[in-house]
Amino acid sequence: MSQLLEATFWSATTAGGLRLATPLIYASIGETFAQRAGVLNLGLEGYMIIGALSSLYVADPTSAPLGFLAGGLAGMALASLMILLSIRLFANQVVVGFGLTILGIGTTGYIFHETTDVGGRARQVSLPSEIDIPLLSDIPWLGDAVFGHSWYTWLSLSLVIVAGFVASRTVFGLQVKAVGEDPDAAAAKGVDVLRIRTQATLVSGFLGGLGGAALMLGSVGRFQPYLTANRGFIALIVIIMASWSVWGAAMGAFVFGFFEALGFNLNNAFVDVPIEGLNAIPFFVALVILTVSARWARMPRGLGANYIPTV
């Protein structure tokens, strides 16, 4: 109990939260673009798990950065099925999304079992070291909480800034918003709705794959089926929290990660409380946020509905 009063408890929880949030930050930022453009990717879970497996299988013989990139490309490959079936052939987004999630889980399970011999050497990567920033990492409390992280976390944080800029300050960002809010009006203005939606979905696939890769290379190190454990769906929830803004998505990802870390760390402080109850904390917080944000969240008007151009 007294541990809760110590600064190190909270700095460790904040640091752990940021670490756990890293994969979610990638995935939720990418999906924010897709949803702002009107495309709901329930297949995000599939993009993440296929990104995780691909990153491991490339990073194991080569290097981590190459594996990371491969994870993104694999997510993009799966997302291209979303583009083909939903954006181009107008199949229902929810149905295709579920299909892609199952396909991702099935394919990774198949590849993993086909390539892993019982008792043989499992593919694995060593986890990255923390990058200490001189001076800043030495600040007593803040240094532990914020500055000692791997490059996957640093990259995700810089991505927030870049993506925030692209979403609100570039033509592409505005076109994305336009085709998600009112595709007919956007088309009348000469915007190629299907092209913008295609690009936004590719972004979602790429970043979803990177999210899976960051999970694998940054904190797990070896594959197991169902590795992503519904994180793709959590990413969908955190997007809602701040009405589809990039900053909000990253913030929501951190909040979820923070409470996940809190659950783990509270286990040391309260040994009598069942661990399962503590592990439920982040999901409970997510439920509360989901409910409360229903009061202010306004989803993009065209979200979930396919756009069929009139020729």
Partner: protein, 373 residues
Amino acid sequence: MADVDVNGDWDAQHATADSDERKLTTSLSTSVLAVLLALIIGGLILLMSGENPLTAYSAMADGAFGSSFSLGETLSRAAPLAIVGYGTAVALRAGLITIGAQGQVVAGAIGALLTAQFFENAPSAVAIPAAALGGALFGMAWVLVPALLRARFNVNEILSTLLFTEFAALLIEYLLNNPLKPPTAITPQSEPYPTNGVLGLVVDGTRFHFGVFAACAIGLAFVWWVRSDRGFSYDLYGENPSLAQSLGISSNRVIINSLLISGAAAGLVGWMQAAGLLQRVYVQIASDIGFFGLVVAFLGGATAGGVLVAALLFGALQSGGLAMQSSEGIPASLSDIVQALLLLGFSIRYAPQIIRLTRRVGANFTLIGKRRA
């Protein structure tokens, strides 16, 4: 565009027996095409990974239909999928997608076990229906909060039921590691299911138990539901919520009731698995039934016959896949891939059943809150 033509409207599609028959044959041939396509792509994946597709598929067919044991496996896998499928189909017809059947199956299994332990000394004629009821009630309880949140605050039911699946997974892990765990057990599990509540085997030497017949009963109930007044008004709500509301159909009632029905069906499956198939409760008792049950409902177009056929197909693919894994060493995940391909193939718009259904889901779709005005 063509989308509108294919959809037609509800009346037009049911106008004459003649056009109905034509619809059936076209949807039948596209269905067969989609199944073949999925198997062919699966075969290519097998080839690429250095396996012989013919060996794999014949092992799969053998494991699904080859003996009375494998037939029993197929049926005992198809029955829960069909029941969850019918339950989620009720919600789907009202325009709601519930992905949380997974958690409701878990809750149902816990409910059934607790009820059965309570009636441990009662005659089977009391203990069996009581446990079934207990399972169904726990399944309903597990969907109650998401249903209220959807009705009251417009909180998306896909995401909220998913969170409740996480809660169920944590709850069963806790229960089977602590209060419900027998002192001698090493791995998390419950005591054996009370013998007076166990559903017996129909055919000895298989796992074909009497609970499988519950799927037939639920199927009949579903047929009745679709034809009843209330079922019709829920359908209408799914098709056109604002019209339904202007006709005096309460949106809250439709949302809450249809989700509760789907929860009851999933809870019943929890009972079936605990009392029939496994005769004990394990952490993994729901396996992936909840998730694939929704897929079955989608594939079957939320119709009585469609769900039955899809459930049998998936039951066969799953039992066949496991048999293939043990006889040929080819990962059973191949059947997941084939099932996903099937769903993706069917999702394309030439499958009229899915379009009619997805148009409803589109009409009611909300991620959260209101659409921007």
